[in-house]
């Protein structure tokens, strides 16, 4: 009887309100379906592979998540990433230097520099973030193709340091037939970024400032937060993350083309973040949710064909996810504002 009461009084709605729970169960359900069709889906090897291939998107998603949290939106991060990548690899090839640290340094510097252009436009001129970054997306990408170059670099031209980085593993396991597979170093990098970002958001005044301006910008100003500085941090951090992602991406595919390899995936990344429960109007969401959102989007991407659907479905679903995600946020805020006037109990 007591157990029954406890079951009855537990507020399931509060659990369901957590988007993470919801996304987790969708992911679980999806995995079960895919595993039934293809039992190797849930193999350790495949999961390791999924982790590696979603690392890049996860890093970009964390950047987008922070921007959304502050009440803004950034769509230029893919152009930042491709610029960082291409400039870094081209410099290394021209100089004939084979050094991964230098590659990261160049890539992240380019990322931060381009991010600060966004930050400058947004914080000093107070331009709307969507329009600004839509503009810079085009400016950065067009500028790269015109001023830096548009010829791709193929596997043979790419310095060896990228190849070894792409193959680096935290540990290796041996298959039954004696060949080896392992967990990519990428997983550690993403873990590091998650921890750093989490600490910034949770335990620094800067991080709370990001939440604050996403919740109520005017109140944040009155409370004494330096909004310009916070926005500079946000957009530079997105650029920095794009710089890291750029090198990881290059090391994985070992082919650098400035035309259309990363640019064009903005919507998938934003969809992942929205799916993970970040409110598009700012102020709310979690890193865990963002990662789950990325996992779901990548799982979709990888398995649609397996499930007998054309890969165009991916594009279709990404758009749908954004619309549904935004609708849910809107509906929830509508419900909240109505609850304020209606009674809590039934008449």
């Amino acid at each position: 009887m007591k157990l029954f009461d406890a079951v009855k009084t537990y507020d399931y709605r509060s659990l369901l309100k957590h988007n993470e729970t919801f996304v987790f169960f969708v992911l679980l359900g999806f995995s079960i379906v895919v595993t039934i069709i293809n039992p190797s889906f849930l193999s350790i090897e495949n999961l390791f592979d999924l982790a590696k291939s979603s690392a890049g998107m996860a890093i970009l998603a964390i950047g987008v998540f922070i921007v959304l949290l502050s009440g803004g939106i950034d769509v230029s991060f893919t152009a930042v990433a491709i610029s960082a990548q291409y400039i870094a690899v081209k410099t290394l090839i021209i100089l004939g230097i084979d050094n991964l640290a230098l590659a990261f340094l160049i890539s992240c510097s380019v990322g931060i520099a381009l991010g600060s252009i966004n930050a400058f436009l947004i914080s000093i001129f107070r331009l709307p973030t969507l329009i600004t970054t839509l503009g810079t997306l085009s400016v950065f990408h067009g500028g790269l193709l015109e001023f830096v170059g548009s010829t791709p670099f193929y596997s043979g031209q790419i310095p060896d340091c990228f190849k070894s980085f792409g193959l680096a593993q935290v540990f290796t396991l041996v298959r039954e037939d004696g060949t080896k597979f392992g967990l990519s170093l990428y997983v550690l990098i993403i873990l590091g970024i998650v921890v750093v970002t989490w600490i910034i958001l949770r335990y620094t005044m800067l991080g709370r400032g990001i939440y604050a301006i996403g919740g109520n910008r005017e109140a944040a100003e009155r409370a004494g937060f330096n909004i310009t500085r916070i926005q500079f941090f946000i957009y530079c951090y997105v650029g920095f993350l794009a710089g890291i992602m750029a090198i990881m991406h290059l090391a994985m595919i070992r082919y650098a083309t400035p035309t259309l390899s990363i640019v064009g995936t903005e919507l998938s990344v934003i969809a992942a973040v929205v799916l993970g429960g970040a409110r598009i109007t700012g102020g709310s969401g979690s890193i865990l949710g963002t990662l789950l959102g990325v996992a779901l989007i990548v799982a979709l991407q990888k398995n649609l064909v397996l499930m007998g659907l054309s890969s165009y479905w991916h594009q279709f679903l990404v758009g749908l996810i954004i619309i549904v995600g935004v609708s849910i946020t809107y509906y929830q805020s509508l419900r909240r504002s109505q609850q304020r006037v209606v009674f809590t109990e039934e008449l």
Partner: protein, 504 residues
């Protein structure tokens, strides 16, 4: 105890062409509850901003804690213990109560790192000081306006407040919540903290204030002990004119078939079995606490929030009202409670705001809007409702609160409604404009319109309506047939008494 905490001396401030403050003097004593009253545009908010150090005065000086400031910076003001609670409360809806209360202090101390234990302790301590126990882990967006108010006060206390300035704190609170707020203010007083209470609700001024300062057109009319004043005198001092209050009389003999009749109208969770009718020339008041269902009922009648069941009859004919277009076609007009969001296109011109409801009537034979018809109509309504504006092409936001409300009236009256519902018609409107609006409404009723006034200001409905319906928990619990037979207190106790709740 008679020491002055704050002294404002000879302060003047002019904005382009407008003298917002003209040689204003005012003092606030330690531990005093002081009210600042004045009509919209009298300079109240400019004065507060000068004290906050947000606006710099052109002339004059400010003395806080015996320190003289020629120019007061925002940071000085905070350091001297002045805390302002703005009307919008400046809270972060997405953060917890604990953070909302403690963050400002942490910023002021230039903390770079967050210690969550400290955050909670500061918040818990501040809430204890005002004797409130709220869930510190709850997000602010999930709590009531009254609780938000308490959070804002607690936040002020974390910064060693000596003077808390509250800008119109009661505008969205119910009677009970206001009493709770007043208890908190009196508690603060016992601890030597002064409160400057900015309000235009006079009954509250008399309830809480020890002294009252009155601003009119940027000039300080004077500071008075509350005992020296009564309602009429205060209104006179604020407006410079006598405002007559008479009761609206409806001629029972004219009684005909009802204009609008509502039968058993229900909407789940909002209101249940509402039946009433309104005759030609009647002004019927509906009053009740926030959440009694009064505004929801109005929205249902206007089709914005359609009812689940029940009937609405207009001049004896059953009409179905599923959306606002149905309501307008049936001859129902609605003046919304929140005129800024629902009533006006605030950035658009006065002309556009007036014609928006009746564009079809202005079309010429080619299907375009006739400039001549448009100008005639706008001219007519601006004159009839005495909207004060130099230019009908200026944006609606350039008008004062009272004139904006008249503009919303004009917009709906242009549709020639048979039944006109006014929800909180004088919220945020100053006294003189209030009287004008009431006069206009009476005039409409005398010309045969049926009027429903929804308001939580009991004096407003008792004075302007010939009948008053009292709502509680979604039901009509009482009907006042003769408004001269009851007092304000009696109506108030009907709508808030326990039995009323238990009876339904």
């Amino acid at each position: 105890m008679n020491e002055n905490l704050l002294e404002i001396r000879n302060v003047s401030k002019a904005y382009v062409g407008v003298q917002a403050l003209d040689k204003v003097d005012m003092t606030i004593r330690k531990g005093e509850i002081h009210c600042l009253v004045g009509e919209n545009g009298s300079g109240k908010s400019t004065l507060i901003k000068v004290v906050a150090g947000v606006v710099r005065q052109d002339e004059g000086e400010i003395i806080i804690n015996e320190k003289l400031y020629r120019y007061l910076h925002a940071i000085d003001s905070i350091r001297e213990g002045v805390q302002i609670i703005y009307q919008d409360l400046s809270l972060f809806p997405n953060l917890t109560l604990a953070e909302n209360i403690s963050l400002n202090q942490e910023i002021e101390r230039s903390r770079k790192v967050i210690n969550w234990k400290d955050i909670k302790e500061i918040a818990r301590h501040a809430l204890d000081e005002i004797g409130e126990d709220l869930d510190l882990d709850e997000r602010v967006e999930n709590i009531s306006v009254a609780s938000k108010q308490l959070v804002a006060i607690s936040r002020a206390l974390t910064q060693d407040a000596k003077l808390i300035i509250m800008d119109e704190p009661t505008s969205s609170l119910t009677r009970d919540e206001i009493s709770r707020l007043f208890n908190v203010i009196t508690d603060l007083q016992k601890r030597g903290i002064s409160t400057l209470f900015v309000s235009h609700k006079l009954s509250e001024v008399f309830e809480i204030a020890e002294r009252v300062s009155i601003l009119r057109d940027g000039k300080m009319v004077g500071t008075f002990n509350t005992e020296e004043l009564d309602n009429d005198r205060l209104v006179y001092l604020m407006t410079g004119k006598k405002v007559e209050s008479t009761i609206y009389k409806f001629d029972e003999k004219k009684k005909k078939a009802p204009l609008i009749e509502v039968r058993n109208l229900s909407k789940s969770r909002n209101f249940k079995n509402i039946s009433f009718s309104v005759q030609e020339g009647e002004i019927v008041g509906i009053t009740g606490l926030l959440g009694s269902g009064r505004s929801e009922l109005a929205l249902a009648l206007f089709g914005m929030f359609p009812a689940d069941s029940g009937e609405i009859l207009l001049e004896g004919k059953r009409v179905s009202i599923e959306n606002t277009q149905d309501a307008i076609n049936a001859g129902i007009g609605y003046l919304p409670e929140d005129r800024l969001n629902q009533g006006l296109f605030i950035e658009h011109s006065i002309t556009r705001n007036i014609i928006v409801t009746i564009l079809e009537k202005l079309l010429n034979k080619f299907g375009f809007i006739s400039a001549k018809k448009r100008e005639e109509l706008v001219h007519e309504w601006v004159n009839r409702l005495k909207v004060k504006t130099p230019n009908v092409e200026s944006p609606a936001q350039s008008l004062s609160g009272g004139n904006q409300q008249r503009l919303v009236l004009a917009k709906w009256l242009a549709t020639n409604p048979r039944v006109f519902i006014l929800d909180g018609p004088t919220i945020g409107v100053d006294i003189a404009s209030k009287a004008t609006i009431h006069q206009i409404v009476r005039g409409l009723a005398e010309n045969g319109m049926g009027i429903i006034i929804i308001s939580d200001e009991i004096p407003e409905v008792l004075q302007n309506c010939n009948r008053v319906l009292v709502m509680a928990k979604g039901k009509i619990i009482h009907e006042v047939k003769d408004v001269t037979s009851v007092t304000e207190d009696e109506v108030f106790s009907i709508m808030s008494r326990k039995e009323a709740y238990e009876a339904v």
